[in-house]
């Protein structure tokens, strides 16, 4: 099918591990790098987060470094010529190198240029900064770049690094939990922040049997409120409605949701799933394993989805115990068998954005 796009390689760089397999195993075993940091970034209150040890990165700027590491792994797996003029680079992040504000050029364009140079990419990088759906939006863009014929392969890398800037911001919104987050749980009280980088190489060529494809993707705005999600899950529902025709319902194994563990987000997603007629599809929420990795989330959580589908399982939703949303969403604290060859990645973000992607194993 000419509108499908193959995933030739993946790479990750996270506090939980530096290969996709390592991280997948950790998630499967219920492990996490989320913990309480009593005085991270000089913030007033302690932060429950999943953060990199800074020492191994001494002398380097963390953001571009983790992007490069994740991208290098994906490029190696894909075996593409990264310096070809037919290779594009898409960099996705919310705040990039913001911790250097006042000391250096913190524009994402400058960071993307550093990453492109380090990778040997010769084409002008495209930067997507679409709040917490940035990684997913980057994959949508990468797919479009291929379908337009402008490029033959695209490296999409999404990442986020935490800082006093971001932590103070979320603290001012009272959106953080001081304990391990609990997606969809009755006792959920906020999100945990996380750091990670994740990358995929996409191409219309080179697809193999058993390999993964992106069949469809869409971004939709709630057109409702600048920071709170629509109470009726408008944008999520519309994004789902757009991508669902690309999937055979019998083949849909699970939905990897945003599941930030805030009161409003998880409730909104349950409503969107209900409206889309998806309540009997198993759901997994991974932010209890990595925290909210913002710009990386769309790609990292999709990579985990791919590995899960390959193993024939739905990953556990760490932190979930008792359902606390108004619709009977099929979340599980333990791993369950998956049946099907496709999954959907769903995400939302500030500014009313929502996105959905369909992945399928051939």
């Amino acid at each position: 099918m000419i509108s499908n796009v193959n995933i030739l390689g993946c790479g990750v760089c996270t506090p939980l591990g530096n290969t996709a397999q390592e991280v997948f195993r950790a998630v499967r075993e219920g492990r996490s790098a989320l913990r309480l940091h009593p005085d991270a970034f000089g913030c007033a209150e302690p932060v429950f987060a999943s953060l990199f040890e800074r020492a191994p990165f001494e002398g380097k700027s963390l953001f571009p470094e983790i992007c490069v590491r994740a991208a290098v792994a994906a490029i190696a797996q894909a075996g593409i010529n990264v310096s070809s003029d037919r290779t594009a680079l898409v960099v996705c992040s919310v705040k990039g190198e913001i911790e250097l504000l006042g000391k250096a050029d913190v524009t994402l364009a400058a960071s993307a240029r550093k990453i492109a140079d380090a990778l040997g990419v010769t084409t002008p990088p495209l930067v997507v900064s679409n709040a917490c759906i940035s990684g997913l939006a980057g994959l949508v863009q990468g797919r479009r770049l291929l379908l337009s014929g402008l490029y033959d392969q695209v490296v999409v890398v999404g990442a986020e690094v935490q800082s006093r800037f971001i932590v103070s911001g979320f603290q001012s919104l009272k959106a953080l939990s001081d304990e391990a987050c609990k997606p969809f749980d009755i006792a959920r009280k906020g999100l945990n922040l996380g750091e990670a980088a994740a990358a995929m190489v996409l191409s219309q060529d080179g697809g193999k049997a058993g390999g993964f494809q992106i069949l469809e993707g869409a971004i939709r705005n709630d057109a409702n409120h600048i920071s709170g999600p629509s109470r009726t899950g408008e944008g999520s529902f519309n994004a789902l409605r757009y991508v669902l025709p690309a999937v055979d319902p019998q083949e849909l194994a699970f939905i990897s949701v945003h599941g930030t563990s805030t009161l409003y987000n998880d409730e909104m997603e349950s409503i969107a799933l209900d409206r889309a007629g998806l309540l009997d599809v198993p759901v997994c929420a991974l932010k209890g394993s990595f925290g909210h990795t913002m710009g990386a989330a769309g790609i990292l959580e999709s990579v985990m989805g791919m590995l899960a589908l390959q193993e024939g399982i739905v990953l556990p939703t760490r932190g979930f115990e008792r359902l606390g949303v108004s619709r009977p969403v099929k979340v599980s604290a333990t791993e369950v068998p998956a049946s099907g060859k496709a999954f959907i990645k769903l995400l939302s973000g500030f500014g009313g954005v929502n996105g959905a992607l369909v992945f399928r194993q051939s």
């Binding site: 001012s172 919104l173 009272k174 409120h225 600048i226 920071s227 709170g228």
Partner: protein, 86 residues
């Protein structure tokens, strides 16, 4: 208390960017939230929580607490008078 209510109104107008409003435009007992009120939203509640801490040393832990305190300027002023540490 008159002075405190007026002072609070000025601070609220400034903190929430209520352009063109003066203290005279806000009745002491007028509801601040909802359609009939000033139409303030969830971010405004959070901003008012910051206002209380910054100016009066009062720490409200949750937006739910905030909504009770911010029902009207009069309720807010009473609360500030009773709990201020600055």
């Amino acid at each position: 208390m008159e002075n405190l209510i007026n002072e609070l109104k000025l601070k609220v107008i400034d903190a929430l960017n209520l352009e063109g409003m003066t203290p005279q435009d806000i009745a002491d007992d007028a509801p601040l939230f909802g359609e009939d009120g000033l139409g303030l939203d969830s971010i405004d509640v959070l901003e008012l929580i910051v206002l209380l801490e910054k100016n009066y040393g009062i720490r409200l832990a949750t937006p739910q607490e905030g909504k009770k305190v911010f029902q009207s300027m009069a309720v807010m002023a009473d609360y500030v008078a009773a709990n201020r540490t600055k």
